[in-house]
């Protein structure tokens, strides 16, 4: 157990020391909250209204989860089609590469006009698009990057392409799936949050960071930032736990 906790101790200690130094700096230099609020002020705002913090985080978290789920499903479907039919592969892959260079978050105001701005829909859509690419790219790679000798083995056993997909390609792609998900999950939170800056319902983290800052409630704005970090971290940790639980066979690669 102590062996497993070891990697946690050092960064934790550094974090605590950094917070202490920050607090000290604010007190000694008498830095104003609009420049840099003290950690104690942020903490009192954060813990002072935990109910509001969590309901705000829950709202943005829900947008992120919805976008993540739909984007992941679309990524899986597109990757399977791309591997099964080379026509689709030749069509989607360059498209994916091209679209990946577009600053997708900039589409939000347009989507706000296209869909009902008072709903969650435009934000979920942006998140879906953001999530789709890392999922699609990683899954396609995982489905295609099988050892040639494993393909020959499948052929020697008279396996059809469909069977090869099920028995070899899909299990082979699972670690790649989690690589994609580890990129996509925190990205989904960031996107859901930033999309709120472009108007619409005001009960999310992004909206409240903006309005708190505008109302000179800097401690509160920073408390929402902390809540955002907590949500992003939570997403990442859930993915990590899912990965360890579902792919015990790549334990040896992790331990190396």
């Amino acid at each position: 157990m102590s062996e497993r906790l070891k990697p946690v101790w050092t960064p934790l200690l550094i974090g605590v020391l950094a917070l202490a130094a920050w607090e000290l700096l604010v007190i000694v230099q008498d830095i104003k909250p609009y420049l840099l609020p003290a950690p104690s002020l942020i903490a009192s705002n954060f813990f002072g209204d935990l109910g509001l913090m969590s309901s705000t985080a829950f709202y943005t978290g829900t947008t992120a989860i919805m976008g993540l789920a739909i984007g992941t499903i679309l990524g899986i479907v597109a990757a399977l089609l791309a591997v099964r039919f080379s026509v689709v592969n030749n069509l989607i892959t360059p498209l994916a590469a091209g679209l990946a260079t577009v600053p997708i978050i900039a589409l939000t105001p347009i989507l706000n006009n296209m869909f009902n701005i008072t709903s969650r829909t435009p934000r979920v859509l942006v998140t879906v698009i953001i999530v789709f690419f890392p999922m699609f790219v990683n899954l396609t790679r995982g489905l295609l990057q099988v050892q040639p000798v494993q393909l020959e083995l499948m052929r020697s056993m008279n396996a059809s392409p469909k069977t090869t997909l099920r028995v070899l390609r899909i299990p082979n792609a699972i670690p790649f799936f989690f690589t994609g998900l580890k990129i996509a999950a925190p990205l989904a939170v960031i996107t859901a949050l930033v999309a709120e800056y472009f108007g619409g319902p005001q009960q999310g983290l992004g909206s409240r960071i903006a309005s708190s800052a505008a109302n000179t409630a800097y401690g509160r704005a920073w408390a929402y930032v902390v809540a955002s970090i907590v949500v992003g971290l939570l997403f990442y940790l859930v993915v990590l736990a899912l990965e360890r639980w579902s792919t015990p066979w790549i334990g040896h690669r992790r331990s190396n």
Binding site: V149, E152, L153, S156, T163, P171, W249, H252
Partner: protein, 272 residues
């Protein structure tokens, strides 16, 4: 030995050519007019330098690649049909085990593809793991095993559907010398227990001599059979590797491998 294909013949290849990029400037004749007959229960090694087409020949027999010309019969039926009927098992230089399956479920794979019921294939896999002395490792993951153990799992898998023929492409090539000799003894024991016909591709002259009834010597550019050396060492045991007859056979195969080079020089000298 009869030249006509029959069910008593494990493999019969006649007039097999394999030409890559035919008609283009980078045309390569990987196999030139190969005739080869392997009897039921016979152990044949294919030996030769890199690029002599020995692996290609094995792949043609396995129907993993099609010959440009010629016919290959396996157990009396065309190679493609033999593959569909699972008339052979195959082992490669890499064990090619699936990391996400336990050792036992790797051995079960061919049975699973044939639609065997769960309990029957588990029983069959355990039987095979006992034969390769890995029953204790049934629930382990492949990467927990040494290279030699992984290769034994791969051999067990190739035997799963009980095919009459084993095709082995340098299966011990990546193993250290000690493990390699142990694996050779193991393979001969399995052969004795099961009566399989075996075609074995190797780079190693002693390995080919120790294992085989006949050693097929091939040479490159174009890939062809230059000689077939019969080996008569009787029952193999620990003393075989140090016997006079063993070294004589090793020398015979080595000379057959060299013979081609000398022959070509002589031929050219004759032209002048």
């Amino acid at each position: 030995m009869s030249t006509s294909p029959s069910t008593t013949t494990a493999v019969h290849a006649s007039g097999v050519w394999k030409i890559f990029n035919e008609g283009q400037s980078n045309e390569v004749t990987a196999l030139q007019d190969i005739d080869l007959t392997v009897g039921q229960g016979e152990f044949i090694s294919l030996i030769g330098p890199s690029g002599c087409g020995k692996s290609t020949l094995l792949r043609v027999i396995a129907d993993l690649t099609q010959p440009t010309r010629g016919d290959v019969m396996v157990a009396g039926v065309p190679a493609a049909q033999a593959r569909e009927q699972q008339n052979y098992g195959m082992a490669f230089q890499q064990a090619a085990l699936f990391d996400w399956r336990t050792v036992r479920r790797n051995v079960e794979l061919p049975l699973e593809l044939q639609g065997w019921p769960k309990d029957r294939r588990a029983a069959r896999a355990m039987e095979l793991l006992e034969m390769v002395q890995l029953a204790d490792f049934a629930t382990h993951r492949p990467w927990e095993l040494s290279g030699g153990m992984q290769q034994r799992v791969a051999i067990a898998r190739s035997l799963a559907v009980d095919p009459p023929l084993l095709l082995m492409d340098e299966p011990f090539g990546a193993l250290d010398e000690m493990t390699r000799e142990r694996m050779q003894n193991e393979l001969l024991r399995i052969r004795q227990e099961t009566g399989k016909s075996i075609i074995f591709v190797t780079h190693s002259i002693p390995e080919a001599v120790y294992l085989s009834d006949r050693v097929v010597v091939m040479s490159p550019r174009p890939g062809r059979i230059t000689d077939i050396v019969p080996i008569d060492l009787g029952e193999r045991n620990e003393d075989t590797r140090e016997a006079e007859a063993f070294f004589e056979s090793v020398t015979a195969v080595r000379e057959a491998l060299r013979g081609h080079g000398g022959g070509a020089v002589r031929a050219r000298a004759g032209e002048v």
